[in-house]
Symmetry: C2
Amino acid sequence: MLVGRPFRNDRMSHTLLPKRIALPIFASDALSSVAYAPDEILLTLALAGVGSVALSPWVGIAVMLVLLTVVASYRQNVHAYPSGGGDYEIATTNLGRFAGLTVASALLVDYVLTVAVSISSAANYLTTAVPFFQGQQALIAVVGVLILALVNLRGVKEAGTVFAAPTYIFMLSIIGMTLVGLVQFLTGNLRQSVSAAFEIVPSAEFSQGLVGLAGGFLLLRAFSSGAAALTGVEAISNGVPNFRPPKSANAARTLLLLGIVAASMLAGILFLASATHVHMAQDPSSELTLNGELLSSSYVQSPVISQIADAVFGSGSIAFYIVVAATGVILVFASNTAFNGFPILASILAQDGYLPRQLRTRGDRLAFSNGVILLAAGALVLIVSFNADVTRLIQLYIVGVFVSFTASQFGMIRHWTRELGRVKDRSVRLRMRRSRVVNSIGFGMTATVLVIVLITKFEHGAWIAILAMIVLFLIMWSIRAHYDKVARELAVGDDSSARALPSRVHAVLLVSHVRKPVLRALAYARASRPSRLDAVTVDISPEETAQTVADWEKLDIPVPLTVLASPYRETVTPLLEYIDSMRRESPRDLIVVYIPEYVVGKWWEQLVHNQTALRIKARLHFEPGVMVASVPWQLKSSEAARRLQEL
Amino acid sequence: MLVGRPFRNDRMSHTLLPKRIALPIFASDALSSVAYAPDEILLTLALAGVGSVALSPWVGIAVMLVLLTVVASYRQNVHAYPSGGGDYEIATTNLGRFAGLTVASALLVDYVLTVAVSISSAANYLTTAVPFFQGQQALIAVVGVLILALVNLRGVKEAGTVFAAPTYIFMLSIIGMTLVGLVQFLTGNLRQSVSAAFEIVPSAEFSQGLVGLAGGFLLLRAFSSGAAALTGVEAISNGVPNFRPPKSANAARTLLLLGIVAASMLAGILFLASATHVHMAQDPSSELTLNGELLSSSYVQSPVISQIADAVFGSGSIAFYIVVAATGVILVFASNTAFNGFPILASILAQDGYLPRQLRTRGDRLAFSNGVILLAAGALVLIVSFNADVTRLIQLYIVGVFVSFTASQFGMIRHWTRELGRVKDRSVRLRMRRSRVVNSIGFGMTATVLVIVLITKFEHGAWIAILAMIVLFLIMWSIRAHYDKVARELAVGDDSSARALPSRVHAVLLVSHVRKPVLRALAYARASRPSRLDAVTVDISPEETAQTVADWEKLDIPVPLTVLASPYRETVTPLLEYIDSMRRESPRDLIVVYIPEYVVGKWWEQLVHNQTALRIKARLHFEPGVMVASVPWQLKSSEAARRLQEL
């Protein structure tokens, strides 16, 4: 009841999206990163003192450049692969299984990180607006993930309109703030941020400022952190099937729009941060000074957007709260896109045999639920381990996205080269050549960024993400290997042993107490007219066995009851020995073991019933030529459970 | 392999114990309490300053008095109930189910506390001997419980002799130390303990010393803590069947011996503690002073026995290490008696229907294992929650034992009164009257102590133990109520619905892919010659279904394959609807659903196979008139698992 009714297959086609709705649905992840990417650029540069912070707009421009290149590249992907398989499909098709699975592992890990980073950042914004929650970010983030998981287990029906409004409000509020700030700046009315008066104590390493190899390295690290703004760009390429026709063209146009909006917002925030002199540090109480003295440890550092909103609109103004609230909401939506994307990717991987089959059917609630639960669990582990600290989480982030970007761009180059070999039409070839150039530039750019990210972040935490990818890769690879092995073992070949009809059927009825379930099992066993029917009871307690035998004789049924001795006061072994001896006698017979079972309504009732039956069944499964027939007896308490399952 | 082979029923009778072996086996619990009971008496009295500590021998005498009374009472129990059912049997027989179950709950809780207290105390002694472990008591205790649990899961074969030697060494070393100390005292050579020079700062409440109501209350609290020395006395009454004949007489004699030894040891330790001026405090660094200054927080307070051994034999002497080591070992043995007693009591309770049936068969490894695991888990929770602090754990202890003592003594009074109504023989009646007087005194004494323990310890932690008892009681009571309800529901009565033979058998074979397991299931289904046989597949993916249909037709079998539509891309619902429609058509038919299953060897293989089969089976169990036949196919990987299970 909590998770609602499933959707029908045929309802899916009704939900094709116009561009104005598709943009907010697919954009929240990409846009939301301006909520933390500028902060990370400033924090990182601050290590080299206040002079380096002035370089932040240049880092921002580099990030924008990469962003626009990636957008241009993905516009080619959208045209070539409109099926929505995304980077995993492109890598698998063009580069093979190994590359495809690498991309898949990277994407799965990054979905988890998207949730962890976005929700942690949202928790930060909540504490900015409501200081009461200060210091409780980790707890808030945990609660947030749990709520998101519940909502997604329940299922989101009319996602479109719900998503559209807040995303547009966020876009408008950030762009509006930028414009107001720009006018104030040009008219000389722009106030300074609350942190403008702070001085930054550079770390010992950078006492000379941003110079030498270490300086360049720090710049690259700031750029790596800022590149978080690129996550989510690939969302549209996975969503092409949901666009209104012409699907590819509409998706490509939306992608371009997204790129322009995201780049403008990033530029605007970084410009205003620079103009209002926002000064941030990883650990404010040891790196920031006011009038030469270190700040007290009670100083709480607000995110960049909060500080700018404060400077532009004034602290406590309605506009300030709108900006902060819209940012918090968009971050929650960004996590939600991961909750949509993760189970879909898992389902595709399950279809290809890399994940357990039960994750395969996308629409199946249970399969979907497993995906949601796995994602939430992963995010919770990260949030708790890193205490919801965005700066530390961001070190793990983006590696996966850029692995995926790079592999997919390389795959696209291969794709165009192969297509060029087939197509003769001149104008088409020209267009393909152009696309290949775009993808090649995209590949060069993303590969470079990937290397930069790996080098600058590896020791700060990226190794954890890479390790997780490798583990995921190995798990999925071995699941596929296992399925392949089983398929070979089970293929219907020439050998007819599986098809051989058993010569006779020998039925064995398990009796513990003579009660109604046993009588029903007896009736069922007799109805299938076996060649031979034996009732069997194991002698664990002499008194109980005597009672059982007496009760059995009272029934007056022409079925003999065999009592098996149990020197170890245990049920399973004597039974197995009995069945083994029957099999030795007539190996070509089929032995059917009838087990009466209680069907109960509550989980704890299951604990106090059927445990022996379960063990017997588990053990009998290993015996060739033995079939287990469970004869259920529905206790009255099972009625409620049945009705619940039918909902 | 880790837990060894089970023992045979008939081997049990070979292990009847002579008194010299029975004493150490059953005595370790009772004797081991001198390792911590004196400490608790001293610690509690120290709250009222150094003057009160002088009263410790008197508290000791009170404890000894109760101890000897309880021993005298239990000698009557042993004669009247030689079956080994112990207090639970006595309470149930004489006072009814409610009292019996109360005693059982109390004993189960106290078994857990015995393990927690004894192992924590053993960890203390280890750190006395090896200062390297200082501060790690909780960790050591956790490791200790885990090792004990493993050893007990493995099974202890020749328990007797292994237990005898260390227990005798412990008895000899403590009594020897007492005698040596006594001689030194009489000759004026007894040294002072290391803590003799310390002054005790009385807590504010007792700045006037041990006076008034609060003073009396503190004396009673010290007595309550000292009463921990009584735990384990009932062990012999549970063990009567293991004695050599005449069982009761031998058990009674051993009990008397135990009482005398335990009382002497307690008296000896308390006397020497007083003579060597052992000064202890709950928190040494805030309650003990030397030359008017508080002790540094680095002072480590050794247990009483360590301090006495140090004074009598000298620090670092071999005798000192023997005493400390013997004490540590005996504490571990004391925990081990709980590991023996808990599963046996659980098995008796399961036989009476208060615990799940699978705990019933005492000799069954699995049943025994569950008991060991539950006990270890409970003890671990306590140790971790209380950081292995014996002083805090002891506040929870003894409530259970005295509930059990009191109920059993009251039950014995009833027993004798009833017997007196039946027996005519004068001399027998005289003996019975005498026994009744002894048990009445025992009842009065234990009831008084129970009230004292409840009053003085309730707020210090005893409420936790009482709460746990109530919860256990309610769980066991409702399990029994459930079993009774089910038995009534399932009793074979006049209504013959359970015995009615189905008119026809309709077999349904589940097909997903056409592979060997399906062929085997088909062969088995055909072998049982059903009235009608249908093969059914659910259409989740159109391509796969087309493949299945094609493969099926290639097989050329006269069994039709029905394809069920699945609008929600899900397996279970279409199948249930199909079966429901069949049942509506012919309600008196038996429907047998054949499900091919993979039998795998590794747990993770189970995760990637059979999940759908499991869900279908679980759901079909709720359908009346439907039987589920599992047709196992043993994958090659299952061979290893099978061999493992056969060990």
